[in-house]
Structures are given as structure tokens and as C-alpha cells.
């Protein structure tokens, strides 16, 4: 059996098993994520050694059948998912979970793997359906009225996004007569094809929480339980961003109109998210708004990169996605631990005297460094590649905006980091230092991973340089 088949099917099998044997759900989840990580490693080695791999499902070649395409970009996304999923599984095993977490999480993993490998527009839509529905369930996991409300809004927004995507796919079928990814380049050649692409992109913007369609997201990400927030923020929104990047690659030069829109909306999101993060009073809300800003940054990176078939600037976007996934997952996990220790997550109450900053605060600080993009993190490498390319093109205004976004992210993240280092009388009555748990390992490990990724950036870059299939 090939790695590709197992990558997409093992999580679903694990999901059904976790329902059938709820008592063993956590260990089943661990086995599944570990196996998933091993499969990804083996796939990456194969891709580096022999180039992009393809697998024709059922022996029916596209466009009749569906083809899995495992190229460098897909491999980097799979690896990102595998790393984050290990940490999330470790964290979830150490916290008493609610029934329903494991099947939903495994289904999310399977949907993400299927999404990154799929070479067919309609199949991508179905994968998005699983992803969106599972994400709604994960948001509702907390069970509080606020979480249920946020989950319902998420469901509505997600359905609107799905309908737009489906409409776009139906239109592209009427324009080109086929629904595999090869159709994208044909779509860019006619104006009604571009309308179809624009509808798909609008749906993706809802799902990725791209400004100004991000309205559902801060509430959903901040009212979920910490593992679910980490998962939603680090991985689920990446599905839509990945597809935007894929459309930009498949469309080539003709997709420039999409890239311009992404650049403009991305800038808006970067600034608006940062502004809201600066004003947020709760820690989880700050992190959620920072996700809006970082998604804006990634969209901006996809948008200004130009034709991916001509130059390699788009790798910056992929690197930024990777580093954001690791850092943001670490940050949400750390925030969960901080809130648990203090009994609240008000930013004004973060300073304390008796409780010295612990592992969670440390993990938050490292993750913040990576999100801001200080060397030697992967975030730095991504921004470096981008700015270097923009300098060559003389696009000074984009560089200025990028630097402004970076400065703003440093500003809002330092609100938290500086408070944690400051003493003060605001220790709440219930505050207590939590015993060392595997949850700290997860957050710290991810944050360290984000840091080290900058030093080992050669690995993802080698993968990304593998020519497309």
C-alpha cells in the first residue's frame, strides 16, 4: 500500500475506532498520529529522492477519476499537519477530554491530508465539508453557551463559504467541462472563468477568515477549548490558504487578478487584526485576533509573490504558513495553560508576584518571537525571502506594509510577554502553579520547533523546490 492511501485513510479508520472503543480513544489517537507522522517522513524522503509522486485512484485517470498529487508543497503541508498533530495529541492525552474530541480530531486530520493531496476541485470541496463540519464540532466542544453560539455562527459562515465554493466549481464545470485542477489554467483565460475562480476564492476567504470575512473567527477560536483553538487556528484555516496558494500556482500568470485581491485583503487583515489585538482585553482573544493578522500576512505573501511558475517567491508564503502553524498552536496551548494556572485570561491580570513565569509563559514568548519573525525562526526566513524578492522588484510600498505589520505584531505580543515578566499585586485568589505535565511539553516543543525550523529551513525549502507534477 502506498503512503498516500494510508495517509488519507488511516485517520478515518482511527476516527471510527475511537467511537467504537471510547475507552481507548486517546491511545488510538496517539497511535494514529504517530503512524501519520512516520508516513509523512517516508513520503518526504521519497519526494526529495525521486520528485513529486502521483497516484491515480481506482486506476481511472483524471479528469474521469481523481488523482492524488504529492509534490513539495503538499509534502510541506502534510509535515506541518503531522508535527502540530503530535503536539495536539500529546496535549489532549494529558487533559480530560470530552466525548467527541477524538473522532472529530481524527476526521479533521484525515480531511486535511486528503485536502493537501487532492488534485480535483470537486474532491477538494468534499474535503472542505468534512473539515468545516468537524471544526464546528471542535468549537462547540467546550459546551458553554458562548462556545455553542460561536459554533453556530461558524457553521453559518462556513456553509456560506461552502456554497460559494460549490457555486464556483459548478460554474467552472460549465465553462471548461471538467473539474480536475488542470481546469484552473483554462479558467483564467476567459472572463466567465475568472468569475468562477473569484467565487471559489471568495468562499475560501470566508473559510480562511481573510479580512473582511473574518467576523466569525475571533469568537470561535477564543471560546473553544485550548486544544481545539490550537487545531482550528494552526491547521484548519491553513486548508483554505493552501488552496488559495494552489490556485495561484495552477493558474500561473493568469491568476494575477486573484493575487492582487489577496494582497489588498491581506494587507487589510494584517492591519485590522493587529489593531484589534492591540485593544483586546482577554488573552485568548488577542491570540485569535493575531491569527487574523497573520492570515493577512500569509495572504499578502501569496499575493505579492507573482507567478509561482516564474519565480520562487511563493515559497515564502509556504514557509510563513508552516511557521505560523507551529507558533500559533504553541501559543494557544500555552495560553490554555496560563489561563488554567491563573483562573482567568485577562491581560491586565497577568502580572503576579508569587507565581514566577513558568514553562507556558516561556513557550508563549518563543512562539511570539517566531510570529514576529525575529531571527533565527522560520518566520524570519519567510519574511526575509519575501522582502529580498520585493527589493529586487523595487516594490517599496509592499515592503513598508510588511514592516509595519511586523512592528504591530511585535507591539501586541509584547503586551503579553512584558506583563508576564512584571511583578505586581494582581495575583488572583485561585492562582496556583500547575504541576509539570505533558501539556507543557507540547507547547514548549512546538515553540522550540518553530525556533529551530529557522535553522533547519533548508529542509522545507528543498521540498518546496521539487518541481510540480
Amino acid at each position: 500500500m502506498s503512503e498516500l492511501s494510508l495517509l488519507v485513510l488511516l485517520p478515518f479508520l482511527a476516527a471510527t475506532l475511537t467511537v467504537a472503543v471510547p475507552g481507548r480513544a486517546a491511545s488510538l489517537g496517539l497511535v494514529a498520529t504517530a503512524a501519520n507522522a512516520l508516513l509523512v517522513v517516508s513520503l518526504c524522503r521519497e519526494i526529495i529522492a525521486r520528485g513529486a509522486v502521483e497516484q491515480v485512484i481506482g486506476g481511472w485517470a483524471a479528469p474521469l477519476g481523481i488523482t492524488f498529487v504529492g509534490d513539495g508543497l503538499a509534502a510541506v503541508m502534510l509535515a506541518m499537519t503531522a508535527i502540530v498533530s503530535l503536539a495536539i495529541t500529546a496535549q489532549a492525552m494529558s487533559t480530560p477530554g470530552r466525548a467527541g474530541f477524538w473522532p472529530l480530531w481524527m476526521a479533521t486530520l484525515g480531511a486535511l491530508n486528503g485536502l493537501f493531496l487532492s488534485g480535483d476541485l470537486f474532491n477538494l470541496y468534499v474535503a472542505f465539508e468534512i473539515l468545516g463540519l468537524a471544526a464546528v464540532g471542535l468549537t462547540a466542544l467546550a459546551g458553554t453557551p458562548m462556545a455553542l453560539r460561536a459554533a453556530f455562527d461558524y457553521l453559518t459562515a462556513g456553509l456560506a463559504g461552502s456554497l460559494l465554493i460549490l457555486l464556483g466549481i459548478a460554474l467552472s464545470y460549465s465553462v471548461t467541462g471538467r473539474v480536475d485542477l488542470e481546469t484552473v489554467v483554462v479558467l483564467t483565460e476567459s472572463s466567465n472563468g475568472r468569475i468562477a475562480l473569484a467565487l471559489i476564492a471568495a468562499g475560501l476567504a470566508v473559510k480562511a477568515a481573510l479580512f473582511p470575512l473574518h467576523f466569525w473567527m475571533p469568537a470561535a477560536h477564543s471560546s473553544a477549548v485550548p486544544v481545539a483553538s490550537a487545531l482550528l487556528s494552526a491547521l484548519v484555516v491553513k486548508g483554505a490558504l493552501y488552496l488559495a496558494l494552489r490556485l495561484s500556482i495552477e493558474g500561473g500568470a493568469g491568476a494575477e487578478f486573484l493575487r492582487s485581491a489577496l494582497a489588498v485583503l491581506g494587507t487589510g487583515g494584517m492591519l485590522w487584526g493587529a489593531w484589534n489585538a492591540l485593544r483586546a482585553e482577554r488573552l485568548k482573544l488577542l491570540v485569535a485576533h493575531s491569527t487574523v493578522a497573520q492570515i493577512g500576512l500569509i495572504a499578502l505573501a501569496i499575493g505579492v509573490a507573482g507567478d509561482p511558475l516564474q519565480n520562487g517567491l511563493w515559497t515564502a508564503a509556504a514557509l510563513l504558513m508552516l511557521s505560523h502553524a507551529l507558533a500559533k498552536a504553541a501559543m494557544f496551548l500555552a495560553v490554555g495553560r496560563i489561563a488554567e494556572a491563573l483562573g482567568h485570561d485577562r491581560i491586565s491580570g497577568l502580572n503576579r508576584e508569587e507565581l514566577r513565569p513558568g514553562a507556558a509563559e516561556f513557550a508563549f514568548a518563543i512562539a511570539a518571537i517566531s510570529l514576529v519573525g525575529l531571527p533565527p525562526t522560520a518566520g524570519f526566513i519567510g519574511k526575509w525571502i519575501l522582502i529580498e524578492g520585493l527589493v529586487d522588484e523595487g516594490a517599496v510600498h509592499w515592503i513598508a506594509l510588511l514592516l509595519l505589520g511586523t512592528a504591530l505584531s511585535a507591539a501586541y505580543l509584547s503586551r503579553v510577554v512584558s506583563r508576564c515578566l512584571r511583578g505586581g499585586p494582581h495575583v488572583s485568589a485561585t492562582a496556583q502553579r500547575l504541576p509539570w505535565r505533558s501539556g507543557d511539553v507540547a507547547a514548549l516543543g512546538l515553540a522550540t520547533g518553530a525556533l529551530l525550523l529557522g535553522l533547519a529551513a533548508a529542509l522545507p525549502l528543498t521540498l518546496l523546490e521539487v518541481p510540480f507534477a
Binding site: 494510508l6 471510527t16 476526521a107 480531511a111 474535503a127 464540532g137 462547540a140 468569475i195
Partner: protein, 297 residues
């Protein structure tokens, strides 16, 4: 003659949809939705898509309508807030812009679809004479597998967020004989639809929906409600569909080297086996979506 019928049908769909949207009473709105669903399934028939018509009638109008009715009954009425006019105008403008773009795109020249000829050419090897079944269970079986996963996730979410199930009072002495007549008939019709799917409109989704309808009637009448839904066996049956489909996909790869690539000449057997499992699983899923999860002990 025929265009007149189609025009009346299209107008009726619009009117009933508008009724469902604007009527104030909830039950009336759901009734409007039901009527819209039935008319839409008629329009699928007119468009030459009997498979879609069947699915729309059974799932879109029938089971969704039943679910909505139940929810309309259970959820307390929220005070209706009037939308500000600016929002109305913005929503209207957006809807008109999107519809305009769609109309323009659809009416302007497009390429001929590549699928009909491809499907027709490969139909003999697919193990099914009905092109829709060939696409769903062979050419693009991967899509179908993911759709079964969607059902699985939906059921998981419902089980997770559903409140404790309120006790359903049995619907009275006349309903039990009704359900007893109905259930064998639904088994018959479901089996027929499943078998017929190989060469004519039908298949696992339609058959599963019909079965679920019969089971729901039986559940509402109070015959099986307390006995069957309290056990986890039904939930296991519901999730078995995804597991069996996934295992079959991997087994096919072991045998032929292609994921979901059925061994030559045996495609029909594989398709019928997978579809039979899916029918039972879909029926159990829909039943549980309606009645909620088994009670926890």
C-alpha cells in the same frame, strides 16, 4: 405544452421558497420548505436527473423536513429582530450581483463537458450499467467515501451537542399498525432501490433514506423507540459504513495496486457489497440524526 409545465413548476418553486422564507409561523415555514423540496425534486426529474430527484425527495424534502419540524417544535421562539434597512439593501445588492454573474456565466458559451463521453466509454468496465452508480461507486468513489465521512462527522457532532433526548410520547394506537405495514414495505422498497441502482436510478443513499424513514415512523409510533435507540449497536452500525468503505478501499489496493481499484471482472460484486453496507449505515445514521444519541448510562 411542456414548456408551460416547466414554467409553472419553476414559478411554483420560487413562490413556495419565498413563502418558506417570509411566513412568520415556524411550522408554516417548514411546510413551505417541504413543498419546495418536493417541487425541486420534480424539477430534477424534468431535467433528466432521476437519481438526484429521488435523493432530493427522500433526504432533502422528507428527512430534512422531519428534522426541521421536530426542531421547530422543540426550540422556543426567539424574539424576531428586524434587520436594519442598510443590511437589507447590502444583502440584496450582493445577492443580485452574484446571481447576475452566475446567469451571465451560464448563458455565455462554455466548453462541452468531458464527462458524458468518458463515462459512456468506460461504463462496461465499471461494474454498473447506471452511469450515476458507476461514477459514485467506481470512477469517483473517493468523493463518495469522503461524503460518508461527512455523515460520520455530522453524527458525531449531533451526538456531542445534543441535549438529553426528551421522552417521545407514542403517537397513539392507529400509528402502530401503520408503522407495522410501513416497515416491511420500506425494507422492500429500500432493497429494490439498492439493487436497482446497478442499472437504473437508485442506490445506497436513496435506499438508506427510505429505510430510515420507515424506522423513524416505527420509532415515532413507540414500538421500537425505547428498546432500540437505547443501545449502542445502532451507533456502531452507523459508523461501520465509513470503516467498511475505507477497509474495502485499502483491500482493493492490496489486490490490484490501485486505491479503490476493484479487481477486473469483480467490480459489480464489490460495488454491491459496499453499497449494501452503506445502505444500512446511512439508514442508521439518519435514524440517529433524528432521534439523537443513545442515552448514556
Amino acid at each position: 405544452m411542456l414548456p408551460v409545465f416547466d414554467v409553472v413548476l419553476a414559478a411554483a418553486i420560487l413562490v413556495s421558497a419565498a413563502l418558506a422564507l417570509w411566513v412568520r409561523d415556524r411550522i408554516a415555514a417548514v411546510s413551505g420548505f417541504l413543498v419546495t423540496g418536493l417541487l425541486v425534486s420534480l424539477s430534477w426529474l424534468r431535467l433528466g436527473a432521476p437519481d438526484v430527484a429521488l435523493a432530493e425527495a427522500a433526504i432533502g424534502a422528507g428527512l430534512t423536513g422531519a428534522l426541521l419540524l421536530r426542531s421547530a417544535h422543540r426550540i422556543p421562539c426567539a424574539p424576531s429582530k428586524a434587520l436594519p434597512p442598510s443590511l437589507w439593501c447590502a444583502a440584496g445588492a450582493l445577492a443580485i450581483a452574484i446571481s447576475g454573474a452566475i446567469v451571465w456565466t451560464v448563458t455565455s458559451f462554455g466548453a462541452a463537458p468531458v464527462y458524458p463521453s468518458l463515462v459512456a466509454d468506460n461504463l462496461p468496465e465499471s461494474g454498473a450499467q447506471n452511469p450515476v452508480t458507476a461514477v459514485l461507486l467506481n470512477f469517483r468513489a473517493w468523493d463518495t467515501l469522503l461524503e460518508i465521512a461527512v455523515l460520520f462527522v455530522a453524527l458525531t457532532v449531533v451526538i456531542m451537542v445534543a441535549p438529553a433526548r426528551p421522552r417521545t410520547a407514542p403517537l397513539g394506537p392507529l400509528v402502530q399498525p401503520f408503522a407495522r405495514v410501513l416497515l416491511p414495505l420500506t425494507v422492500l422498497i429500500g432493497g429494490h432501490l439498492l439493487w436497482q441502482g446497478g442499472h437504473a436510478p437508485g442506490g445506497a443513499f436513496q435506499a438508506g433514506a427510505v429505510l430510515a424513514g420507515g424506522a423513524i415512523a416505527l420509532g415515532l409510533s413507540g414500538v421500537i423507540g425505547s428498546k432500540l435507540t437505547r443501545q449502542n449497536g445502532l451507533a456502531l452500525l452507523a459508523i461501520a459504513g465509513l470503516a467498511i468503505f475505507a477497509l474495502a478501499a485499502l483491500a482493493a489496493e492490496v489486490l490490484t495496486g490501485a486505491l479503490l481499484g476493484y479487481p477486473a471482472g469483480e467490480a459489480k460484486t464489490w460495488i454491491i457489497a459496499i453499497e449494501s453496507a452503506l445502505t444500512l449505515s446511512i439508514a442508521a445514521t439518519l435514524f440517529l440524526l433524528f432521534f439523537g444519541p443513545a442515552e448514556r448510562h
